[in-house]
């Protein structure tokens, strides 16, 4: 059941990335929704689920867009594992720590992804510090908002039910 949920989350992130991002994202600002989903799953489910989710999501993403399958998978596997370890060892339940984790995960992903491409002499990324910082910030904001929304939704439903019950009385 959990695996199905993770699978659906990754597919939904991929679908949003490939379909809606074209209408929402302008210019050079780029959000990696799949990476956000991997870090989210890792923080909530631990390192094993995190790394498997990262491997699956990264490989699918590679197969869809990259000329070389595996680099994105390796980067997301590593990020998923480390985010899962951090999620189990530290209290990451407030927006600021979550922002830091998402930001660091995005930066680490960029370092591994671009580093491997440059190491294999397949692509030249120039000096992408500003782009990586912007993408990490955007990913972190989306990740924190996703956590807030997911956590607020069940409470909101219960509050509505309670309010209706009070009105009936």
């Amino acid at each position: 059941m959990r695996a199905a949920g993770v699978f659906l989350a990754v597919v939904a992130a991929l679908a949003l990335q490939t379909t809606l991002a074209r209408y929402l994202v302008k210019g050079t600002v780029a959000i990696d929704l799949v990476l956000v989903a991997v870090v989210y799953v890792a923080l909530t489910s631990g390192p094993a689920t995190g790394l498997l989710t990262g491997a699956f999501a990264g490989l699918v993403q590679d197969a869809l867009s990259s000329p070389l399958i595996g680099i994105g998978g390796l980067a997301k596997t590593t990020v998923g594992f480390l985010a899962g370890v951090i999620g189990t060892q530290f209290i990451v339940s407030q927006p600021l720590p979550r922002f830091v984790v998402f930001f660091a995960a995005s930066a680490l992903h960029a370092v591994i992804f671009m580093g491997l491409y440059m190491l294999l002499d397949l692509r030249n990324f120039g000096t992408p510090y500003a782009a990586v910082a912007a993408q990490s910030t955007a990913n972190a904001l989306v990740g924190v908002i996703a956590f807030q929304v997911v956590e607020l939704l069940p409470g909101a439903v219960e509050r509505r039910r309670a309010a209706k019950t009070r009105l009936r009385r």
Partner: protein, 282 residues
């Protein structure tokens, strides 16, 4: 580092998965074959999902645009846009023909005068990863698409087909880091190569320091790359700087706004250079 104790179950799993990835990457790097089968199959399956989602989004947008908004004005506007797009394509062809007429190599010009045969395609998806600049279109091998066919828009060059599946195809945009095209400055005929940088600008490389290039010059395809037909607009020179003793550093603003395009044309006619190369190989 107790928190990174690799002897735990997840640690062994992590090592196994990482090792699997490294083997996967190594196998591909060593291979000189074409597109990996996994890429074609995955892309083919996922493009169907993209097509469905794009249809849903398109349907919602269509309902809003046609029935809630100004219905007749929208339809008229669409028709005028189609007519304008057709006129701009015709103008591009005329420009290419005029360039050829000015060229002294008349024998080659005669072969280049063949009108472009194109097929229209709708964009149904964007890249799955923000590090790659690609689009998915709703035409594939069933419509005659093949790898390395040029993709153009009314404003100019969009990119090339890289992975065609039966009912869709992946298009590598000219601004992708791995993309390149042979170009010339229309005013002075200075030759060079534009390469993508992964952002929304192009770099024109290998232009001699002695060449006459000015800000605002129109950059058009040269046709020597065997992918893009000659004379199609690529962009305008945005800045020119000295780059070492031999070459200029030229930044080109693409003619096409890649965030706004909805429909493209795929050039089905082989370029004269490609035909010549095919003839030589035969």
């Amino acid at each position: 580092m107790a928190i990174l104790d690799i002897r735990q179950r997840s640690g062994y799993l992590f090592l196994g998965v990482v090792l699997g990835h490294i083997l996967l990457i190594s196998a591909q790097v060593n291979s000189k074959s074409g597109v990996p089968l996994l890429e074609v199959v995955t892309f083919g399956v996922f493009s169907e999902l993209q097509r469905t989602l794009s249809g849903g989004v398109g349907g919602i947008r269509g309902v809003w645009g046609n029935y809630v908004g100004l219905r007749h004005v929208k339809a008229e506007n669409d028709e005028l846009k189609r007519q304008l797009a057709a006129a701009q394509i015709t103008m591009q062809e005329q420009r290419a023909l005029a360039d050829q007429a000015r060229n002294l190599q008349k024998l080659l010009e005669l072969r280049n005068r063949v009108a472009l045969t194109t097929t229209g395609a709708e964009i149904i998806g964007a890249a799955a990863s923000p590090d790659f600049r690609t689009l998915t279109i709703d035409k594939g091998t069933r419509d005659g698409l093949r790898p390395d066919m040029a993709v153009i828009a009314p404003a100019g060059v969009v990119g090339r087909v890289v992975v065609p599946s039966p009912r869709s195809a992946k298009v590598q945009l000219l601004i992708d880091r791995n993309a390149a095209a042979g170009v010339i400055i229309e005013r002075t005929r200075a030759q060079g190569v534009v390469v993508g940088g992964g952002d929304d600008r192009l770099q024109m490389q290998y232009v001699s320091e002695a060449s006459d290039v000015a800000v605002g010059d129109l950059v058009v395809t040269s046709g020597i790359d065997t992918i893009y037909p000659k004379g199609l607009p690529v962009g305008r020179v945005e800045s020119v700087e000295k780059n070492g003793p031999a070459f200029k550093r030229i930044v080109v603003k693409p003619a096409v706004d890649f965030t706004q395009i909805e429909e493209v044309l795929v050039v089905l006619t082989p370029t004269p250079a490609k035909e010549a190369a095919a003839g030589v190989s035969e």
